[in-house]
């Protein structure tokens, strides 16, 4: 008899990782001579490159720049505006200008230190505020559902607030790295990747080559969190160009400082909310606006903005929604993908706004939120439909019981109590926004049974620590009712695996896992060695109008509730965590322990986003470019999370599973911020809640 799939098993890669034998990109050895690559970067924020003076040429130092790019000198993402190498101008400090390649890194470093670049500097936009005042957004959208103007006219009162969120750095513990090998068949890129086919398509575009000459292999990946979604495409294009020019193996590994200075961050945001309330303090509608700092290039910002705006209603149903948003370019390090992808910014704002509204109308925040919860059959922010059961009311009761919320909330409401407890309610739309899966990704998977009866999973999605290998192997083993050791899942290599899409957007388990279940059904009809494929098709009832931002933005939603308890020191204004509780609905966990790992890690990243993780730029330069200056939590800073999963199987997910990876981060910041508000007795409008900000709030309040 088959066991419950959620029952945890040992992860398939535990042993190689624990013993240190797993080979990450910097650990591999390569045939033939390896040339290291070092990057020469812009030392100014914005301007024209007038001249570059090189030291006298050396045989062991090779220069690779934009003139060596055979195809397009842009990283293929959404817009052609992210140069592989700067040509005649630079638009942020640290922008790559050229690579130096050679067999000896010390020689390269010494050579680089003597290169002189002359610039003609121009006046930059250093902050989002600056760009908002002086420029137009590069992309903007409007969501208009219901009749906000009408709601506002009918309203007994309207309330408006504004919020601000900062940059966040992924701090995957393994820095970025990629190696390009030049071979007779073409170029092979191996690296720390989330999205092998993004890399492949970008390199094809930059080399101007046909697809069969570009092969991409994912090395064991030491964490990513979105940071290895689009950024690896940039450095892969660079080393591919170098490898083709020099006909050598080129190895580019960032050190931590470089990684923190120049790789993509979470978008800083300015968010405003206005609510129209009736005489019974029920919200008739909300008007929201979100402005994102895209940094110096468009990158994925348009899609991040969509998610930020679609999240405008949080977990609530408001009869009218008018959401506007824009991405502004600044002369700063590009913003990009980071677990949550626009949602963490909006959820901080909507959850604080709801708390503040409750306080204004004299209601308990959780009661006020509960009466606005979306229910099955309600319209979403974009006028789609919540089709599945929503268990939030039950989840709130669970988390209250687990955390002793009501009692603590009452106790900590007493004036002067240094403690506070806060609750956040959140959701995450699973899969690509809108018609992305059907129109752009068109995921395909292969499943192959070999001569020995072993079944090979051939997909392009990666294990970056989240347990994807184990999860998919369980899905296949359970579907075929075969032992786990009969299932093989090697790191994706585009020579063998089809494009089943990137490892992003909480889509891999739900979408790709489901396709593997379908492939298993096909494979069961075959005998002996066989290969079957399955292709994604969107359910007919899902309709999406991208221009109007109307319809079903996501096929399914995962849900969560977080509670955080804190104490704020009134002398140092430091916040200490005392407790953390969570309840999640991820459909059905494919492995309880793997999901717990996602919950614990995501929750702490979310709390860090709210509390400690400050990355600011001064004159365009990142001020916290080391793990000494940029504070991520240590084991002593966190507490044991009591977590509960509520089964709510999703009909189209594998064994009922929905997305889980991003969800777990989203509630951390608003929960900890609500707790800090109570401890402080002052309302919070921006994160991170560093001591300087808390001190300022207390002084002014």
């Amino acid at each position: 008899m088959r066991k419950d799939i959620s029952r945890s098993i040992g992860k398939v890669d535990n042993r190689e990782k624990s013993s240190g034998s797993a080979e990450y990109i910097n650990d591999r050895s390569w045939e033939g001579e390896v040339h290291y690559a070092l990057t020469l970067r812009s030392s100014i924020v914005k301007g024209k490159i007038i001249n570059i003076t090189f030291p006298s040429a050396r045989e062991d130092v090779h220069i690779v720049d934009y003139r060596d790019v055979p195809g397009k000198n842009f990283v293929s993402i959404l817009e052609d505006d992210w140069p592989v190498f700067a040509e005649d101008r630079v638009s942020y400090l640290g922008e790559p200008i050229l690579l130096l390649c050679g067999p000896d890194r010390t020689v390269l470093e010494e050579y680089r230190s003597r290169i002189v670049v002359d610039y003609e500097e121009e006046s930059p936009f250093l902050t989002l505020q600056d760009a908002v005042e002086k420029s137009d957004p590069i992309v903007s959208y409007t969501i208009d559902t219901g009749d906000y103007a009408g709601a506002s006219e009918k309203a007994a009162r309207t309330v408006k607030e504004t919020f601000e969120t900062g940059r966040q750095e992924q701090v995957y513990i393994e820095p970025q790295g990629v190696v390009a090998e030049y071979t007779e068949e073409g170029v092979v890129l191996t690296g720390s990747f989330q999205c092998p086919y993004y890399v492949k398509n970008a390199v094809i575009n930059t080399l101007g080559w046909s697809g069969e000459k570009v092969r991409v292999i994912q090395a064991v990946t030491g964490g990513a969190f979105g940071g290895k979604e689009e950024f690896p495409s940039l450095i892969s294009c660079q080393v591919a160009v170098a490898s083709v020019k020099l006909k050598k193996t080129i190895k580019l590994i960032y050190n931590r400082h470089e990684d923190m200075e120049v790789t993509t961050k979470r978008h800083p945001s300015l968010i405003s909310y206005e609510a129209a309330l009736d005489g019974d303090n029920r919200i008739l509608g909300v008007k929201m606006d979100v402005k994102l700092d895209g940094g110096a290039t468009t990158g994925l910002s348009a899609v991040v903005l969509q998610r930020a705006m679609i999240a405008s209603c949080g977990v609530y149903h408001f009869p009218a929604v008018l959401a506007t948003g824009g991405v502004y370019l600044t002369n700063t390090v590009p913003s990009g993908a980071f677990r949550g992808f626009g949602a963490p910014q909006t959820f901080f704002a909507i959850e604080m706004f709801m708390n503040h509204l409750a306080a204004k109308v004299g209601e308990d925040p959780v009661a006020f939120k509960t009466k606005h919860l979306a229910k099955k059959g309600d319209a979403t922010s974009t006028g789609g439909i919540y089709r599945d059961d929503i268990l939030m009311a039950q989840m709130i009761e669970e988390v209250k019981k687990m955390s002793g919320y009501a009692e603590k909330y009452r106790l900590y409401s007493e004036k002067g109590n240094p403690r506070g407890i806060g609750m956040s309610l959140f959701l995450h739309g699973c899969g690509f926004t809108g018609s992305g899966e059907a129109d752009h990704i068109k995921a395909k998977v292969y499943l192959e049974r070999d001569e020995e009866g072993r079944v090979h999973i051939l997909v392009s999605n990666v294990d970056m620590g989240q347990g994807f290998k184990t999860t998919m192997m369980k899905v296949v083993a359970h579907s075929l009712d075969i032992p786990l050791d009969q299932v093989v899942f090697n790191n994706p290599d585009t020579k063998y695996v089809p494009d089943s899409g990137p490892t992003v957007a909480s889509r891999s388990t739900m979408i790709v896992g489901r396709l593997l279940v379908e492939a298993c059904e096909k494979l069961q009809k075959e005998t002996g060695p066989a290969r079957v494929e399955a292709n994604y098709s969107q359910p007919d009832y899902i309709k999406w109008d991208q221009d109007k931002m109307k319809g079903d933005a996501y096929p399914a939603f995962s849900w969560g509730v977080n509670v955080v308890e804190v104490e704020v020191d009134r002398d140092t204004w430091e916040t200490t965590l005392l407790g953390a509780w969570s309840v999640h609905d991820v459909g059905k966990a494919i492995d309880d322990r793997i999901i717990r790992g996602q919950v614990d890690g995501g929750f702490l990243q979310g709390i860090g986003y709210g509390l400690w993780e400050k990355m600011e730029l001064k004159e365009g330069r990142v001020q916290q470019a080391t793990v000494t200056d940029y504070i991520i939590a240590t084991a002593s800073d966190f507490v044991t999370v009591e977590n509960k999963l509520i089964d709510n199987p999703y009909a189209l997910g594998p064994f009922g599973a929905k997305g889980a990876g991003e969800l777990t981060l989203i509630g951390g910041a608003p929960a900890v911020a609500a707790a800090v508000e109570q401890a402080l007795g002052a309302e919070v409008y921006r994160i991170p809640l560093v001591p300087e900000y808390l001190m300022e709030l207390k002084k002014n309040g």
């Binding site: 535990n14 990782k17 240190g20 650990d27 030491g222 050190n255 717990r596 084991a635 002593s636």
Partner: protein
Amino acid sequence: MDKIEFTLNGKQVSIEKDGTARLLDVLREDFSLIGVKEGCGEGECGACAVLIDGVIANSCIVPLGNAQGRSIVTIEGFSGTARYRVLEESFAECGAVQCGFCTPGMMIAAESLLNGNNSPSEAEIREGISGNLCRCTGYNMIAEAVALAAEKGKGLW
């Protein structure tokens, strides 16, 4: 060039190299001990942790010269021991391994901790691994794994 002699994973070794070279680079490049990872290069993250005379040290900030006459154990050496096997089992059982980049360093930190205190409290465990950064797990499952290893490995430490 200096001639540096030390014990590495139980074997006597000797290397001629500038004594200011980072021990991390020497271990990885000259001895192919790739389980020693570089995460930050400034002694903050613990991914490069090794044992020097039984005590944890971040090899990225240890000059090779300091290894002279000492005994150095990396994850490759430690993974041959009974203590390691208990830790590995406990890490697996508690789900303490995600991306794995911090894991060898965490193993070394756990060994160093348990070597000095074979029945640590939760707070002592958290303190003991607080020099090692992990961005995936939120640390709780690692702390539980170390506690489980202390329990399972009674008599080993």
